[in-house]
């Protein structure tokens, strides 16, 4: 079986959709293994944004003229696409944000200050991105909500018993956990988390920033209360993301930011708010980015999650096999259920130095704490290098990484 059929779809064809992949870095072919930080963009995304700027653009929701109406339709169609992607019950449950970070801040502010009471608690896990930690710390410090940390096992999986013991006193109002770790690749058992939390009366928010890139998500099947992802990791433009929230929850929350488009009526004494989801969308939205994200979602849907997931599994298994066979390479995370993100260190070389040497050969990996400092403490390291995969990643690129790592080790010996 050759590499391509092994991957479940025609990666050569897919790579043609991403012109950047034929760039040279310092004379070497680009091997882009940093999609977990931000994915490259297919031509259809560029074309959608370009088309809008060339042919059909105006501010949305406000104009009564043709350009504004058509632009509003194009932008609002993205809400339908996101609702379809996540299988939301209703399009009004999709709130546009600028990224997942804003979604967490929105929920920390509107649900955290507006619905949670001082004395209640929020639970996050030991493997959260700072986006799903710092907003809760700020809520804790401003609003007197306790912050609890659910442990992970040494394999890098969520410790479900540990989580349950944090829920025991019934004070927890929200459990906010990643759906897929950006460091360990771990998928968390979302359905079980939701069932458990609901049994103790807590709502659940899942961080789908990584997960939605690799697997189909069904918020109704999960029965999750809030779900977020960020467009630029899903092959879409920067500046756009989404928050899913159950309608009755969103309805119960005060707005986050104030301004145009989120109001019902305004007088100096008192303003009223627009309906969900608009009350959470203040100001001119990321119109062009919404239009670009729609193209990205359709692109992902056209490939299909089964093929994407199969591809990811093949890449991940290959990478784990190749990297673990290199002397001095340490891999982090051994979760049963894991995706295409692999963190590692190399004995005798700091992750930064490793990244710089790889970069010299055109291989882009990330090195650092990956916006997950407390997890680094838990793992007993300051930083790791991380390779992460996209739909366009090939087995050959993983081989290039492995082969070059052998040389890096020699360089630092």
């Amino acid at each position: 079986m050759n590499a391509i059929s092994q991957l479940g779809f025609d990666v050569t064809r897919i790579r043609r959709d991403f012109p950047i992949l034929s760039e040279k870095i310092r004379g070497k072919d680009l091997v882009f293994l940093d999609s977990g930080a931000s994915a490259q963009k297919p031509v259809v995304v560029m074309e959608a944004m370009l088309h809008a700027m060339q042919h059909q653009y105006a501010n949305v929701h406000r104009g009564l003229h043709w350009m504004s109406e058509r632009t509003t339709e194009a932008y609002e169609e993205t809400r339908d696409s996101i609702a379809r992607l996540l299988n939301a019950a209703d399009r009004s449950e999709i709130v546009f944000t600028h990224n997942s970070t804003e979604a967490f801040n929105l929920v920390a502010h509107s649900f955290g200050r507006g619905v949670l009471k001082p004395g209640q608690a929020v639970v996050v896990s030991e493997m959260e991105h700072h986006a799903n930690l710092v907003p809760w710390q700020m809520l804790r410090d401003a609003h007197g909500v306790e912050l609890r940390i659910a442990p992970i096992t040494d394999a890098g999986e969520l410790d479900m018993a540990g989580l349950e013991s944090l829920l025991g006193d019934g004070k927890v109002g929200l459990v906010s956990i990643t759906h897929m770790s950006n460091v360990l690749g771990t998928y968390t058992p979302a359905e079980r988390i939701v069932k458990l939390a609901h049994a103790y009366g807590a709502k659940v928010m899942l961080d789908g920033s990584q997960a939605v890139v690799h697997r189909a998500v069904d918020v109704q099947a999960l029965d999750v209360d809030f779900y977020t992802f960020t467009g630029h990791k899903l092959y879409g433009p920067t500046g756009i993301g989404a928050l899913y929230g159950k309608r009755e929850l969103l309805d119960s929350m005060p707005p986050f930011m104030g301004g145009g488009d989120m109001i019902g009526s305004v007088t100096y004494q008192k303003s009223t708010w627009a309906e969900t989801p608009h009350k959470f969308e203040a100001g001119t939205p990321a119109i062009l980015e919404g239009i670009g994200l729609n193209a990205a979602i359709k692109y992902v849907e056209a490939i299909g999650y089964p093929a994407i997931a199969a591809h990811e599994t093949a890449l991940t298994e290959h990478a784990l096999a190749r990297l673990s066979s290199i002397d001095g390479v340490n891999l982090f995370g051994r979760a049963q259920d894991r995706g295409g993100v692999i963190s590692f260190t190399l004995d005798g070389a700091h992750a930064h130095d490793v990244a710089t040497l790889l970069d010299r050969q055109g291989i882009a990996v990330r090195a650092g704490h990956h916006c997950a400092e407390p997890l680094m403490h838990r793992l007993g390291v300051q930083s790791t290098a991380r390779a992460s995969f996209g739909v366009y990643t090939t087995l050959e690129e993983i081989d290039a990484l492995a082969d070059t790592l052998v040389r890096v080790r020699e360089f630092f010996q």
Partner: protein, 149 residues
């Protein structure tokens, strides 16, 4: 110059928009509710008097465009004498017609001049706002509604 707009601004709409028949606050009423269009600041307040389970009288105060005023006025004609359930069904058909431009609901006969709005998506709300307010009044909503879709 504006020949093609005649499908939107039919004579009856220009007339009723200018001089509505029902454009007043009722002296006595059983229910009232207002509808706001936050996008543009339009507002319709609907007053209704019921008797025997049927709407006997409907008046409204509107600040809004020709479409919304005419729609409120034609709505008043259409609903008087009907039960809340009949009116809710009518409202649903009407919203559908405003969005799609067509309807086979015979009850909408006198409202058909408003079907032209479907070509102007941002004006659909103008036509449906009075119906939203009326439904809120029937539901006994105090605060009224803000349509933002």
């Amino acid at each position: 110059m504006f020949e093609d707009l005649r499908d939107l601004y039919q004579e009856v709409i220009l007339d009723r928009g200018r001089k509505p028949h029902h454009g007043r606050r009722l002296e006595t009423f059983d229910a009232q509710a207002k509808g706001d269009n936050p996008m543009c600041g339009d507002r319709v307040t609907v007053f209704l008097r019921r008797d025997d389970g049927r709407v006997q009288e409907l008046g409204f105060e509107a600040r809004g465009c020709a479409i919304s005023v005419a729609s409120a006025d034609l709505m008043a004609d259409a609903v008087i004498g009907h039960t809340p359930d009949e009116i809710r069904a009518m409202a649903e058909s009407f919203v559908d017609m405003a969005r799609t431009g067509v309807s086979d609901d015979a009850a909408l006969e006198t409202l058909r001049p408003l079907a032209g709005v479907h070509d102007y998506p941002s004006r659909v709300k103008c036509a449906t706002l009075p119906w939203a307010a009326l439904q809120a009044a029937l539901d006994g909503a105090a605060e009224g509604v803000a349509t933002s879709e």
